[in-house]
């Protein structure tokens, strides 16, 4: 497999605050990786480092380039959406297409116009006249029309209603992702992207606390729904996290075979959101 992003011991400090603390990971071609973390965990800082928007310590290579020093070359093959409000509000749809066509070597205007024709966005509208959802749609049309190797999405659906959010991810999969392209995405709404992801990384207090393939999660993590004595026996197997649901205990285990838990209660694979809470809160406990 080819690594598009390779980070080794990456650090970023703001004064005494370690926003990103000795982080190492690889993102391979054709993957959709979710970078998930609580507020202030260092997600955006890490993405900024990957995009060459901020300098960092350690070794970081994106598409074989140094992102901070070779940002122009990098941006020819990377697209990103930072959040919903970043398109300039004064510009017209057609002007933005003109501009990107003139400066981006990998932009296909005809493709962008085809995608826009499927939406309600008018070509002579100004961005300020579009709703939040339409701005995001427009932005996605633009980046879909760019033949980029890596797409970075930082909370792309923040502030959108459920219909636009669903539509965004549906378009992302249908129009953008083709198995050759790679996506790195952060969001708070973990449940919405869980089914898209091929890989997941959890970041907390600047450190990567989980870096795994979605396929590996059922083997590595298991959740047991138990009560009474069963819960007590399961607790002796050192769960990484425990919570209570409708009077029953839900215990999460790492590296424990499902066979060992059989007979103690309902055994299932944890959702990414629950796993995230377990990893973050478990680490804090």
């Amino acid at each position: 497999m080819t690594s598009l992003v390779s980070a080794r011991n990456v650090c970023k400090f703001y004064g005494d605050v370690r926003a990103v603390d000795d982080v190492s990971f690889d993102i391979e071609k054709g993957k959709i990786t979710g970078l998930i973390g609580p507020n202030g965990a260092g997600k955006t800082t890490l993405l900024k480092a990957v995009l060459g928007l901020t300098d960092c310590q350690g070794s970081l290579s994106v598409l074989g380039l140094d992102p901070f020093r070779q940002r122009k070359e990098l941006m020819q093959n990377i697209c990103f959406i930072a959040d919903v409000a970043v398109l300039p509000r004064w510009i017209r749809v057609t002007q933005l297409l003109d501009f990107i066509e003139a400066v981006h070597p990998h932009f296909s205007r005809s493709h962008a116009e085809e995608l826009l024709a499927k939406t309600k966005i008018k070509s002579n509208s100004k961005v300020r006249e579009l709703s939040k959802g339409m701005v995001t749609q427009f932005h996605l049309c633009i980046i879909t029309a760019i033949d980029a190797k890596l797409l970075v999405l930082d909370e792309p659906t923040l502030g959108l209603d459920i219909i636009f959010r669903k539509e965004f991810y549906s378009n992302l999969l249908n129009d953008y992702f083709n198995g050759e392209r790679t996506i790195l995405i952060t969001t708070h709404q973990v449940e919405e992207i869980e089914n898209l992801l091929t890989d997941v990384m959890f970041i907390n207090e600047g450190k990567i606390v989980l870096d795994a393939s979605m396929e590996d999660l059922p083997e590595r993590y298991v959740e047991l729904l138990a009560s009474g004595e069963n819960a007590e026996s399961a607790r002796r197997l050192n769960p990484i996290y425990e919570r209570e649901v409708f009077g029953k205990k839900v215990l999460m285990f790492e590296g424990i075979s499902r066979d060992r838990l059989q007979g103690m209660g309902e055994v299932r694979t944890p959702g990414v959101a629950d796993l995230f809470v377990a990893k973050v809160k478990g680490a804090a406990a």
Partner: protein, 307 residues
């Protein structure tokens, strides 16, 4: 590089429509004023007819000089507006993109910070004067056309009075040279404003003006010298573009420099001394300061991290 600069400059014109709307509005007002002025003057029938007769009998050089004075007076409003436009444009150029957070989008495009900041400097130093010049030339033509119609309506020969005498090429070349030279001469201020617009979090006009107002005062109080006052105020208006005198002296001349013999022609172009301007250490020092502040603006845009 050239293609991306053209695209970036077009982008500046889309964002900052005042760059061409302001001179066009002034052009419209000036043209309307020339109509209303001529209508108002028409009330003084006898005096106007005598005036036109007198002008008809003037030699070509004097008619040419009279039209040159008219053209200069028309241009002066645009020049004043151009500098105000330049100040506000430069102060907004790198500030607006941070204010509306579109900077993250612009930085997702494969362009360097140098290319972006350079396009803004180029817009201020080259595009604004070129657009101002085009509108000045257009206004000259419109006002002279209106005047010709008015003269024609009064039975005078406008072709003889205006069009054979107006030294368009001479005046327009001199105007263009003056506008471009003015922007170069004041380029350290433009770059300072760009730099402020790149770093300030609020009130760029205030932040940019404060050092210009306070430094000369502090220097005077502490060191009893006036280097900053000279650099900011005296130097900025003393552009050595004119033959034998700077533009400040030109402004306060009593007229003796322009006393003409009856048949002497007045050429604006001949008043300019480009060699003196280009050879002036003040120009080159200013360009160095401009380069330093522009580099600082690029550096701030590149390294600034608002996360």
């Amino acid at each position: 590089m050239i293609q991306s600069q053209i695209a970036l400059i077009r982008r500046e014109l889309w964002e900052h429509r005042a760059i061409y709307v302001t001179p066009l509005v002034i052009a419209l007002l000036v043209s309307l004023m020339s109509v209303t002025g001529e209508v108002a003057v028409s009330g003084f029938d006898h005096a106007v007819d005598i005036g036109i007769l007198g002008a008809t009998n003037l030699g070509e050089n004097e008619r040419s000089a009279a039209i040159t004075v008219l053209m200069i007076s028309l241009s002066s409003t645009f020049m004043f507006a151009m500098w105000i436009l330049t100040v506000f444009y430069a102060l907004d150029a790198l500030y607006a993109e941070r204010k509306d957070r579109s900077i993250l989008f612009w930085r997702s495009i494969p362009l360097t910070d140098f290319e972006t900041v350079f396009s803004k400097l180029l817009t201020a130093l080259l595009v604004i004067p070129l657009i101002t010049f085009a509108v000045i030339a257009l206004t000259h033509l419109v006002v002279l056309l209106i005047t010709s119609v008015w003269l024609g309506a009064r039975g005078a020969n406008a072709w003889h009075l205006i069009w054979t005498a107006a030294p368009f090429i001479d005046n327009w070349t001199a105007t263009l040279v003056f506008l471009l030279a003015l922007q170069l001469w004041l380029s350290p201020f433009v770059a300072w404003f760009l730099f402020v617009s790149a770093f300030t979090k609020r009130s760029p006009l205030l932040i940019a003006s404060l050092p210009i107002a306070i430094l000369p005062m502090l220097e005077r109080i502490i060191f009893e010298t006036s280097v900053f006052a000279e650099a900011f105020f005296v130097r900025s208006v003393k552009m050595p573009l004119f033959r034998g005198l700077d533009n400040l002296e030109l402004l306060f001349q009593e007229g003796e420099h322009f006393k003409m013999a009856g048949d002497e022609s007045l050429s604006l172009l001949s008043v300019l001394d480009l060699g003196r301007f280009i050879g002036s250490p003040g120009l080159w020092l200013g360009l160095v300061v401009c380069g330093l502040f522009t580099t600082a603006a690029i550096y701030v845009r590149r390294y600034r991290d608002d996360s």
